[in-house]
Subunit: 314 residues, 2 copies
């Protein structure tokens, strides 16, 4: 299946009306997922803070996870080793488990299971399906704003020439994309990194304002290889961040490609950014003659890891 | 002051016996700090999870921060804009505030203030002074292990030729260091990134196993510019991670420089890794004829941001 199919389906995910039940019952929340499936967890962790939220993207879960915890685990395949290990542990501690996925073994552990209704897309294209049950369950977006977000994505499907422009400049310089986000779109910047890694098969990294002013800044001025880096900066109309982008660019002589997310609400801006980055990475893959849907090596890795484990088992 | 002075003083910080009082009283914890001062917060967030811990490296604090919260804010200068903003907000919500620093305005907000006893080092060299009050207050390390850690650092001060070797290879390739950590040393990998940025003035980024197997892996196999990257992988003797490093290297044809932290306990390994990375970044700075202690641009940035604010004020 062509990745363009994934891109065209993304706006539909905004309308996914599944919801996590009983979100009020618990004292704290943990959200688990790896890579593309971890992005929904990461975004929720960034947007919601009325109660403590732990982000789990490893085999390990926090010590405090207990029967007071709502534990939400997302895995597109339902077979992600790390997520299953973490979920089993949370279950053993008495947490209430919600699983999100297309099938696999993960759902066996779910006190509630939410089925992703589309299997023929890439795991990293299913962020909407994984995020909306959290958004809906915690009542984090207006229906009207969701409709507006849909329209923004639809417009981007029809005209994404600006994304192609970025891809062309990255391709011509054979550049490493560097994505600088800012609150509440740091996770979106990390999502772009994943998209460049998996779709375009290029190294990329993300950081965020204002944190990067305490580390990357000295490197921006003094590093070698700078002509081989292509910088994005998300500007979300917080005057403090807008200033930081401007001044950092001036004193380090760095040309930031500033991305101003369209829309008024957080949900509009968030989905706009996610979709915009997906198009840039898609176009870069095409220019590099790479298949954006090819993640065969990750499958190969999983197989080889399993073989090694079996050899070692008694 | 030469950065070598900072390096030689680092082991003394292990013996800093200041402690956070009354750690039992609170339902949750938030730890705040930016860049070099944020590393102690990040490490604590990674190591301690008996209660929920929020990491704050922005102007914003979680909604749930209240009188149930122990809020620990670290700033070497005591004048970090973001940390002060976040701490004021936490104070207004009734949180119990502990401040750590050498002076400045931050300590005004502290219900308890811990004074860093050494002013003549770089902020990023003070990680031990900021971390030990947390380690001591939450009873996270044995005295005997701290002594062992001291000896490991002392040995590294006497012979760090291995670190020089890495620095030479990075320098000769004009390479971008990429540091892959793993639990519980993901923050240590991020600390290396900061050290390369600020000491050596080179771009660098970190990620961690197993998360990177869900994103960087495809890029490791398919990216351009790979000869311009220098890969470190921290191997902490967890068989699952050791396998992942090995298999990822094989299938993506990547040459990982594996760093096995010396020592038995977490505190030994952690300080060993931090010190090892500091030496690599120091040697790389020297080879590049860069002054590791020069962070003038960050100071310049702060000044210019302040000027802009003053212009806008009525």
């Amino acid at each position: 299946m062509d990745y363009l199919y994934d891109l065209k389906s993304f706006k539909q995910q905004l309308l996914f009306d599944a919801t996590i039940d009983d979100t009020d019952k618990f004292k704290n929340i943990a959200v688990a997922g790896m890579g593309g499936s971890g992005i929904a967890a990461m975004i929720f962790h960034e947007l919601y803070s009325k109660k403590p939220v732990a982000l789990v993207n490893d085999y390990h879960i926090p010590d405090y996870v207990s029967s007071d915890t709502l534990f939400v685990a997302a895995s597109f395949s339902g077979n992600t080793e790390e997520t299953i290990t973490a979920t089993k542990e949370a279950k053993a501690r008495g947490a209430w488990i919600v699983t999100i996925g297309t099938g696999g073994t993960l759902e066996r552990y779910g006190d509630q299971h939410i089925t992703i209704p589309q299997k023929d897309i890439q795991p990293r294209s299913a962020t909407g399906y994984m995020l909306m049950p959290l958004i809906n369950g915690f009542d984090m977006a207006d229906k009207a704003d969701i409709k507006k977000a849909y329209k923004l994505l639809d417009a981007l499907d029809k005209d994404n020439s600006e994304c192609l422009g970025h891809a062309k400049r990255i391709y011509q310089a054979r550049a490493i994309p560097v994505i600088f986000g800012s609150h509440p779109f740091k996770s979106a910047a990390y999502k772009w990194k994943i998209l460049f890694n998996e779709n375009s098969k290029v190294i990329a990294y993300s950081n965020s304002f204002p944190e990067l002013n305490h580390n990357d800044t000295m490197a921006l001025a003094g590093t070698y290889q700078k002509e081989k880096l292509y910088f994005f900066a998300f500007d979300n109309a917080d005057a403090r961040i807008t200033n930081r982008i401007k001044v950092t660019g001036e004193i380090t002589k760095t040309d930031f490609n500033v991305i101003r997310p369209k829309g008024g609400s957080t949900i509009e801006k968030l989905f706009y950014l996610l979709h915009y980055g997906a198009y840039v990475s898609y176009h870069l893959a095409k220019l590099r003659k790479m298949d954006p849907t090819d993640i065969s090596l990750i499958e190969d890795l999983k197989k080889r890891l399993k073989e090694r484990e079996n050899v070692k088992a008694p």
